[in-house]
């Protein structure tokens, strides 16, 4: 790295747990979490839609809380647990949501879908009944350009109505 770009060459050691597996890496200090997940760990389920924290396609869980992978630095994952759509799919945590999304066709191009699922997972984790309007409000940090949202709300409402599912 050239002296003119100190930030490009500066690396940070991180030790975190990604989808249940311990990961220790030296990451560029400026690298975002979603780039680390996609480029270094080949977890391509989290997508880049805007890279400025608006669209929600890069959503991942950091210690169980949905964060924007494009606004979080990989270094911030140090000492933390990261869960992505791949890990939550393998563990079965998203089973009920995934089944409902498929039934209602709550995904078209699929690009927003992992982020939608993670946000919906967080919604279910709140463990309380919600009106359609409240579901819509909760999901309003995630862009979808294809579905018109109706089917997504249908799918989440269906899982919410069935006790003991989805969380």
């Amino acid at each position: 790295m050239t002296p003119r770009d100190p930030e490009a060459g500066f690396t940070v050691e991180i030790d975190c747990t990604v989808n249940g597996v311990r990961v220790r890496r030296a990451v560029p200090a400026r690298q975002h979490l979603v780039d680390f997940l996609r480029d270094e760990l080949e977890l391509t389920g989290s997508h880049l839609g805007c890279e400025h924290g608006v669209c929600g396609a890069c959503s991942v869980l950091l210690d169980g809380v949905v964060v924007r992978g494009c606004l979080t630095l990989a270094a911030q994952a140090h000492g933390k647990r990261v869960d992505t759509v791949e890990g939550l799919s393998d563990s079965g945590a998203l089973d009920a949501l995934q089944a409902a999304f498929a039934r209602h066709n709550a995904a078209q191009c699929g690009y927003c879908t992992p982020g939608m699922l993670l946000t919906a997972h967080e919604l279910l984790g709140a463990g309380r009944p919600m009106s359609r309007a409240a579901i819509r409000e909760f999901m309003s940090g995630n862009f979808c350009r294809c579905t018109g949202y109706h089917a997504i709300v249908d799918a989440i409402a269906e899982v919410l109505e069935r006790p003991s599912s989805g969380s």
Partner: protein
């Protein structure tokens, strides 16, 4: 060989069922495979330096610092790539007078819009390419920019491209009947201005591609987020001088298209050119800010229109004058004139009136190019016709629904063309309207509205009738010489175990078309849906075809799939009949079995047919011709387009204190011909509706007078979010297209077209008590308050 298929084989289940899409399960597990996810050995990454100015001369370019930056392999200016890549030229040859300057794939000497690519950096990583791009030093001499169409067409305006003489890209006029006389004799004449501001289609996945030129085989493989791999095979081949069979374009999963990913982009050709020069794979993914300034834009039309109506409430004439700003160059292959032409040919299309005058003028300006976006000009045509219809109904004291009933084109008037030149056979306006009135409980909503107004709550109800021209065919594209294939093809292959693979030239960006094709194939071959696997998006392996645009997938690709499956079915039955020593017309295919057509008794399984057909041909007569793959293509040589139609209703609330518009409910009744999968059709309508609501209420590309795009971030360019959208209720009316066996017309754009009309009308319905009228998109709170204030001041809201 005889075709043993019953005539209605394609209509059996699973056709007509709500089959879930097969790819959705991959998407739900994060297993989508988009261009960004693909990594090739020795792959490099490109970043572009784009013009910061709308119009400026390149005085000098210094690439030394960028070339010395870490990780950089090559840096290219436009002139170097222009040597190996021919410029673009977006002109429709069948439209006399349509003109465009030649567009170099990257700016050479001069940039003519903010965001035009100027320099490309290729490096080991995306981050290093971006770092180096910042070190490119370009000295610019700024030139005056033209942003508005009217300014660009003013007599004194300097031509953006001097070789064109002026900035008029195209003009076209329609004159039918005697409009002057009709307006003189009309009981009521209503007139309005419409400002359809510029929009960006905004797919959630930005544009991207990996170009992989192999110097060994002298072949180019491109993994491309695109709706038409065949179109791009042709473009890359011709512009780079590569033999067509050495160019293969593969569209993997594509994160939304909406027409935007149908266009041809200079920097995408540049990526291919750089791969060819370097002999290595080069990946380019637009970032969001690049998407805003370089993904094709849409709309940007200023329209004045009027309607003449008799005292009986019958429309006698319309007049439409459209002025559009189409960007700095003509859009290759898809043309920047399409919106204006569709607007003036489709305005008022659902209504029977004999007298029409219309004009569109398209001007070059120093902004990003206009290209395809869902609905093209038809949503604007819908708004113009519906807003004028509502104004006329109000003036005459006729309910808007009743006004439409009086004016629909019906069977007796459907045989000829509309004054705009559109043929409307097979439309179902009345059936759709009556279904909608029942579905949305129209009369009850009107009572609710009247009651609420007494409480100072302002609801609005909008009804919009529309046509959706689908599957534009050879008479449309052929004469333009655009090398756009309007045919599609399908190969269906029986695997030895009795399942089927189907390769289609149709592409799918989430519409569900591939699932629909699988339903048709499964129905025709008597298979379960899961026994049919679809393969699509590869220009090297399917029959030549088009891809996804103009809502054509099911109409054209579905018909090809039906024909291919019917051919395979006949071949299978021939083989089965030979094995079973019976006649093929005694047999049928059901549930993976060949059965006696009359008794249903099993004769032989499809797996056994497959085994004999592929492995035990020794048991067959020597002259029996085993053919267990079938390929068919379909194109409707004489069809300009098919004509779907529908009616939508909107229920909105306008808060006169804050200016906010809230969508409370949306209803749609659509007739897209034969419905293969009702759920997918409904979801296409819903998705389109939300884009239509976005257009009316939120979306606007704002350029300042110097041509700077000032709200080019997702935080500043607003699109609909879940909380702002209503529940959307959809019903289907089916009037099958009569010129095809399948009878599908198309559904991709209907939602957007009808929603724009219905929401425009509904908001203005809510504002009637104030005497205010919205005429400029989007209907922001500020503009709503301005309109109300202007009405209170006793002046007509002009903006």
């Amino acid at each position: 060989m005889s075709d043993g298929a019953p005539k209605d084989a394609a209509l059996r289940e699973p056709v007509g069922t709500d089959a879930p899409r097969r790819e959705i399960r991959r998407f739900l597990r994060g297993r989508g495979r988009y261009v960004a996810d693909i990594v090739l050995p020795r792959m490099l990454h490109a970043a572009f330096v784009r013009s910061p100015h709308a119009h400026a001369r390149i005085v000098s370019i210094d690439l030394a610092a960028a070339r010395a930056a870490p990780g950089v392999e090559r840096v290219f200016a436009g002139a170097e790539l222009a040597e190996i890549c021919a410029p673009l030229h977006g002109v429709a040859l069948h439209r006399p007078g349509h003109k465009s300057a030649l567009q170099p794939i990257m700016a050479v000497e001069r940039a003519v819009w903010q965001g035009q690519p100027v320099v490309a950096v290729v490096a080991r990583s995306r981050a290093e390419a971006e770092d180096a791009a910042e070190r490119v030093a370009i000295e610019w001499e700024r030139l005056p920019a033209l942003v508005e169409a009217a300014a660009a067409l003013a007599p004194a305006a300097p031509p953006i491209h001097p070789e064109l003489g002026d900035n008029l890209a195209f003009a076209f006029e329609i004159e039918a009947g005697d409009a002057d006389r009709a307006f003189q004799e009309a009981a009521v004449v209503v007139e309005q201005r419409f400002d359809f501001v510029r929009q960006t289609p905004m797919t959630l996945e930005p544009r991207g591609l990996i170009a992989d030129y192999d110097p060994g085989s002298e072949s180019l493989t491109v993994h491309h987020a695109h709706q038409s791999p065949f179109q791009m095979q042709d473009v890359f081949s011709r512009h780079l001088g590569l033999p067509e069979h050495k160019v293969r374009v593969i569209a993997p999963d594509v994160g939304g298209g909406f027409g935007m990913k149908l266009n041809v982009y200079g920097e995408e050709l540049a990526v291919c050119a750089m791969s060819k020069l370097m002999g290595r794979p080069v990946k380019y993914l637009a970032d969001r800010l690049e998407s805003f300034v370089s993904d094709s834009h849409a709309r940007d039309h200023r329209v004045t229109a009027r309607m003449a109506v008799s005292k009986e409430g019958r429309i006698t004439a319309m007049e439409v004058d459209d002025l559009a700003a189409v960007g700095a160059y003509g859009m290759p292959l898809r043309f920047n004139i399409a919106e204006g032409m569709m607007l003036i040919t489709m305005a008022g299309a659902p209504y029977a009136f004999p007298n029409y005058r219309a004009r569109t003028r398209n001007a070059y300006v120093n902004t990003n190019l206009i290209g395809m976006y869902r609905g093209v000009g038809i949503p604007l045509a819908c708004v113009v016709g519906e807003a004028l219809a509502d104004l006329a109904a109000e003036r005459l004291g006729i309910d808007p629904v009743e006004f439409r009933r009086r004016n629909y084109r019906r069977k007796e008037s459907l045989s000829g063309a509309t004054p705009g030149g559109v043929r409307l056979a097979g439309t179902s306006f009345d059936a759709c309207l009556e279904t909608l009135v029942r579905l949305m409980k129209y009369d009850e909503l009107r009572r609710t509205q009247a009651e609420a107004r007494r409480r100072g709550v302002y609801y609005g109800i909008g009804i919009a009738t529309f046509v959706e021209a689908t599957a534009y065919g050879p008479p449309y594209y052929g004469p333009s010489e655009a090398r756009i294939s309007t045919q599609d093809g399908c190969t269906v292959r029986l695997e030895p175990s009795g399942v089927v693979r189907c390769v289609t030239s149709i592409t799918d960006q989430g519409q569900g078309t591939l699932t629909g094709l699988a339903q048709i194939v499964a129905a025709t071959l008597g298979l379960a849906l899961e026994d049919v696997e679809m393969i699509a998006g590869d220009s090297a392996i399917s029959p030549y075809g088009g891809g996804a645009w103009a809502s054509r997938g099911m109409a054209i690709g579905g018909e090809a799939a039906l024909k291919a499956a019917q051919a395979l079915r006949a071949n299978i039955l021939d083989l089965a009949a030979t094995i079973a020593q019976t006649a093929p017309d005694r047999l049928d295919l059901r549930r993976g079995q060949i059965v006696n057509k009359d008794t249903g008794a099993a004769v032989i399984s499809l797996a056994d047919v497959g085994k004999i057909g592929y492995f035990r041909q020794d048991t067959l007569p020597r002259d029996f011709d085993v053919q267990l793959s079938a390929t068919r293509s379909f194109v409707d040589n004489g069809a300009m387009c098919y004509m779907a139609n529908g009616v939508q209703g909107s229920f909105v609330e306008v808060d006169p204190e804050s200016g906010f518009v809230k969508c409370l409910g949306q209803w749609a009744v659509d007739d897209c011909g034969r419905v293969i999968n009702p759920m997918q059709v409904t979801e296409q309508v819903r998705g389109g509706i939300v884009q239509g609501i976005g257009a009316v209420l939120f979306e606007e590309c704002i350029y300042d007078p110097q041509g700077n795009f000032v709200n080019a971030t997702m935080a500043d360019y607003l699109v609909p979010m879940a909380s702002e959208m209503p529940d959307i209720f959809v019903e289907h009316v089916e009037t099958p297209e009569r010129s095809t066996a399948l009878g599908a017309k198309g559904i991709g754009e209907a939602g957007l077209i009808g929603a724009m009309g219905a929401v425009w009308v509904a908001v203005n319905d809510a504002l009637k008590p104030f005497g205010a009228r919205m005429t400029t998109q989007p209907f922001t709170p500020e503009r709503v308050l301005e309109a109300i204030a202007a009405a209170r001041r006793g002046t007509r809201a002009g903006k």
